[in-house]
C-alpha cells in the first residue's frame, strides 16, 4: 500500500492525482463469491466418492485421473468400493489411506480433482476442498 503511505505528502500537493495501477495486481481483480453450500453440507454429513463413478463404471484410471478403457498401459484398476470422505482427504494430501495401493494413489487423487458438478461424488469432493 505504498500509495496510502504518501497520503500525508499529497496533502501538500493538491495538484497531484491518484495513481491507478491497471497492471499492478498480479492476481485477478475480480473474485466471484461461489456457493459454499457443499462445505457445510459435507461437514454435517458423511459422503462417498466412487472411483470411477457410474458414468465410467469398469474403466481404469490413468495417472492424470481420466477414466480409460480397462487394461490401458500405465492406468490403475478402479476401486472396489467408494472412498469415504476421510480417505479421499488423505489421498488429496498426497498420502495413501489404508487399503489403497500406494502406486495407485496419485491416479485416484487426480480422478477426485477432476470431478465436476453433477458427477457422482462431486458434492463430497467440494466439501473436502474447503479448509478445515
Amino acid at each position: 500500500m505504498s500509495g496510502r503511505d504518501k497520503i500525508g505528502d499529497d496533502a501538500f500537493k493538491p495538484s497531484r492525482r491518484t495513481v491507478l495501477y491497471l497492471g499492478a495486481a498480479a492476481a485477478s481483480t475480480v473474485v466471484t463469491v461461489r456457493p459454499a453450500l457443499a462445505q457445510t453440507a459435507g461437514s454435517v454429513l458423511t459422503c462417498e466418492i466412487p472411483v470411477p463413478g457410474p458414468h465410467a463404471a469398469g474403466s481404469y484410471i490413468a495417472q492424470d485421473g481420466t477414466p480409460v478403457p480397462a487394461g490401458t498401459a500405465g492406468a490403475v484398476p478402479p476401486l472396489a468400493r467408494p472412498l469415504r470422505g476421510e480417505e479421499a482427504r488423505i489421498l488429496l494430501n498426497g498420502s495413501t489411506p489404508p487399503g489403497v495401493n500406494p502406486g495407485s494413489a496419485q491416479a485416484y487423487a487426480n480422478y477426485i480433482r477432476r470431478l465436476q458438478s453433477g458427477m457422482s461424488g462431486f458434492t463430497c469432493y467440494a466439501s473436502l476442498q474447503m479448509p478445515r
Binding site: V19, L20, L22, A24, V30
Partner: protein, 91 residues
C-alpha cells in the same frame, strides 16, 4: 478487425460496499457478489459514460487518474476479467 467495444450495466445495477482497500460488489442482473480490487470499480465507473474500446477507456481513465507506463497492455486483461464475470459485455 476493429477493437471490441465494451458496455457496462447502468450504475443502479450495482451495489458497492467498501471493505478496507477492496470492495464487495453486488451485481443485480446476475444476483452475484464479486470482491473487486482497483482498477475494476474505476473501469466500471468510466464505462458509465457509454461504450468504449480499450483506447477510449484509457483516455477516460487518464482524465481522472495517473496511469502507469504499460497501462495499455494491462487494460485488455482487466476487460477480459470483467467480461468473464459478466460485469461488462461487448457492444
Amino acid at each position: 478487425m476493429a477493437a471490441p467495444r465494451y458496455v457496462a450495466d447502468p450504475g443502479d445495477a450495482i451495489r458497492l460496499v467498501a471493505l478496507d482497500g477492496l470492495s464487495a460488489l453486488y451485481h443485480l442482473p446476475s444476483g452475484t457478489t464479486h470482491i473487486v480490487a482497483p482498477p475494476a470499480p474505476e473501469i466500471l465507473e468510466a464505462l458509465q459514460e457509454g461504450p468504449a474500446d480499450a483506447a477510449e477507456l484509457l483516455a477516460r481513465l487518464r482524465e481522472r487518474y495517473e496511469l502507469e507506463e504499460r497501462a495499455d497492455e494491462a487494460i485488455g486483461i482487466r476487460l477480459i476479467e470483467l467480461e468473464q464475470a459478466g460485469l461488462v459485455r461487448r457492444a
